[in-house]
Amino acid sequence: MTEGFDSVDDMLRNQSSPERIRIRVIGVGGAGCNLASGLRLDGFGEVATAGVDADTKSLSECLTSQKITIGRRYTRGLGAGGDVAVGGKIMEEEIQCVRRFVEGADLLFVLAGLGGGIGSGGAPVIAQCAKDAGAVVFSFVTTPFNFESEARRSVAEDALVDLRKASNAVIPLSNDLLLQHATADESVLECFATSNRWIGRGVRSICEMLDGSGLVSVDFADLKAAFSRRSGRTLFGLGRAEGKDALGDALKDLLLCPLLHVPDASRLADTLLINVTGGPGLSMTAVNEVLKTLQERFKSKGSIVFGACIDENMPDQAEICVIGASDLEPKPPAADVAPGHAPALNSAETRYAAAVASEKGKPHDSKLQSRPKVLHAMERSQSEFNFVDQENQRGYFDKTERNVHGGEDLDVPTYLRRGIKIEI
């Protein structure tokens, strides 16, 4: 890691030979176990994986090296029934079972699908436990489709807030955005497979850069320092290409990455992690170019963690992974004020609260029942709400008052809210 470095060479000089660091991956709940099962981390012998669930059936299909059954007392092996309170309670009471696995880790990846019971209730508890034990915690989680129930979305939003408190970085993947990335006839299941793949590639990228055998390796201490502050909104993007100019095309692919298609403001990452993987032909000059472009694009003034590796199995392929995090601090409202008046927009949150409150008075508020949860989350920490994933979906309207109608924010594109697949 360097602060405002001038070139890759500068950075190379900064390298120290890394010792083996202990990386562990834990999948929590049904989706989390699927995510952990799908990881292909063959190259990294040291990475231990575990699946945790109350659902014995889900665990029996899990391919992790360890399986941890929890909640027998409550659920008789049947899962938390989607109840996040139950999920949280079980995890808290039985954290002992997990502690042994997470305690030895330098770096822990927590994987879960938010919206259900075990993942949403349990992941924050596990992250906190690992963090207390001194691990750096990266949580990769999916957020429910908009067409899943409002209750699920609300559970996910709350869980995200909790998870952010307990992790060094939380990387949420919106299932809706991934659906947009899927091809026309893919089903929801196939879309889950997509998110599994994306998260897998994200985890792998980080492992790769820490691996020590790369062209440019990252010192774990630097990674740890870069993500030492509690981070708020994160961005995550992957680009991949094959062919003559694989690296250039991978960069193009990355810039089109749906996960990066968020408002300009949120692209300003305070901490940026970039990993480039390519075949033996990967040249340092080309990598330097990529780095420059990305640095400009994300206007990062803070720290950059950069890694580059050669993969013999990817002769004319290249892959770029970007993870960015912004520091968790409330941003001042963007609006200007007419002279002699109270602020034109107080804060998006209060106005949202007001809008929700006034909406509730209207006759068609049936869909709103689970909304108070969102408000609850805001009361706990207003600034955190700024980073709830949903906001990424408002684009041009990012900084404006929410446009609440029947429990939906009309500024979020209709196709996203309705789960309509766009065939780009």
């Binding site: 002279p339 034109a344 684009g395 309207f397 404006t400 446009n403």
Partner: protein
């Protein structure tokens, strides 16, 4: 006695100003015109006072320079989701022994209809009188008629006081007074329909950049108005996010290839983003553009249908739907409007005699404002605005 009035729309896409010269309160000539890109306005409301003010001032300045005269009074339109409205009924027992309606009965009925108090931070923008009913039967003027129960309804438009005051400040900053504040829906409505249309019943929808304003006329009177905070900017943003292109390109894709519905024949056609096929250009699917646009437009009309529930019986809306505002240029929009609302729909015809440059749906609101200026009325009261229809033909030709 000639008077110069300025019609000002602080639009989300453009600041639009027309200067009109009123000749002895009979006819009106458009003498000046200024239109300039809008900044600092989103969803019809100010989000950056300073920047928006500068643009409005530039537009007024342009209009004054082109006219070579200065405005004396401003007619200002207002839109945005802060606008609300309610229908209030007032009634009075006819007091005289012979059951003949006298002035006092009328006054009592009106007073009751207007009595409703607003919350502290809200103000009335319009009281719109709807027809009198005498013992349940509609009458144009109840005075001296016989009956026992006189009723009158008012459609009242109210808004957020602070938001409206901010708008007034913008104009004051140029050194002008705002004489009248008029809801965009009513301004557009008056120019987009004829008196006969309103008499037969009509729904005017102004699909702007930041918001969609509507007014529904029944028996010649505005019986309901409203604002749905969805506009052309939403289409643009949806395209930008859905196709991963920047706003500028999304806006031009929308105008060039957008359509309100998505059909089979759209399959497989790809269109160029920039069109020069140079570096940075790429092709995108036309179907994708239309999918995104169709979803949004369908939702807009669904919301309108919800808000207008109970008002859409074809019997009361003989003249159907009139679409205006820049968004009404979107191909296919009349078809979607018609099927969603169950009424015939067309693009509004602006009165002949308006110079070609201004016969554009984007100018419906400012044209409508001038129209109001001719009679100087701010309390929209169709019952008393007899002069307007007649004067219309003379208004805009030079």
């Amino acid at each position: 006695m000639n008077k110069i009035i300025a019609a000002v729309e602080i639009g989300t896409s453009k600041m639009k100003v027309l200067l009109g010269e009123i000749r002895s309160q009979q006819a009106l000539n458009v003498v000046g015109f200024g239109s300039i890109e809008s900044f600092g306005v989103k969803k019809g409301e100010l989000v950056n006072f300073k920047v928006a003010s500068e643009q409005v001032h530039l537009a007024i300045d342009l209009a004054e320079k082109s006219a070579g005269v200065q405005a004396e009074e401003v007619y200002l339109s207002v839109t945005g989701s802060h606008l609300g409205g309610s229908f209030n009924l007032g009634s009075a027992r006819v007091s005289s022994a012979d059951n003949v309606v006298v002035r006092n009965d009328v006054a009592r009925a009106i007073e009751e209809a207007k009595r409703k108090e607003l919350l502290d931070d809200r103000i009335y923008v319009h009281f719109i009188q709807n027809p009198f009913h005498l013992d349940g039967r509609p009458v144009e003027d109840p005075l001296n008629l016989q009956g026992s129960l006189l009723e009158v309804g008012y459609w009242s438009v109210d808004g957020d006081e602070k938001v409206i005051k901010d708008l007034l400040h913008v104009i004051n900053g140029y050194g002008l007074e705002v004489g009248h504040v008029i809801a965009s829906s009513l301004a557009s409505g008056e120019i987009a329909t004829s008196r006969a249309d309103r008499k037969a019943g009509a729904l005017v929808i102004d699909f702007g950049a930041g918001a969609t304003d509507y007014v529904l006329y029944r028996d010649g009177c505005a019986a309901k108005t409203g604002v749905v905070p969805i506009g052309g900017d939403h289409l643009t943003n949806d395209i930008s996010m859905g196709l991963r292109v920047d706003e500028r390109h999304a806006e031009s894709l929308k105008k060039e290839h957008g359509r309100a519905f998505c059909g089979e024949e759209d399959d497989d056609l790809r269109v160029w983003l920039i069109g020069n096929k140079m570096i940075g250009d790429r092709d995108v699917s036309r179907k994708a553009i239309r999918q995104v646009v169709a979803a949004r437009v369908e939702e807009l009309f669904q919301i309108l249908a919800e808000e207008l529930e109970g008002y859409l019986e074809p019997d009361h809306l003989g003249s159907g739907i009139h679409l205006t505002g820049g968004g009404s240029l979107l191909p296919g929009i009349t078809e979607v409007a018609s099927s969603a609302l169950g009424l015939p729909a067309k693009r509004a015809e602006l009165p002949t005699g308006i110079v070609e440059e201004l016969r554009n749906p984007e100018f419906a609101t400012v044209l409508g404002l001038l129209h109001f200026g001719l009679t100087g009325q701010s309390q929209v009261n169709p019952v008393r605005s007899k002069g307007i229809g007649r004067a219309l033909a003379k208004i805009f030709g030079r």
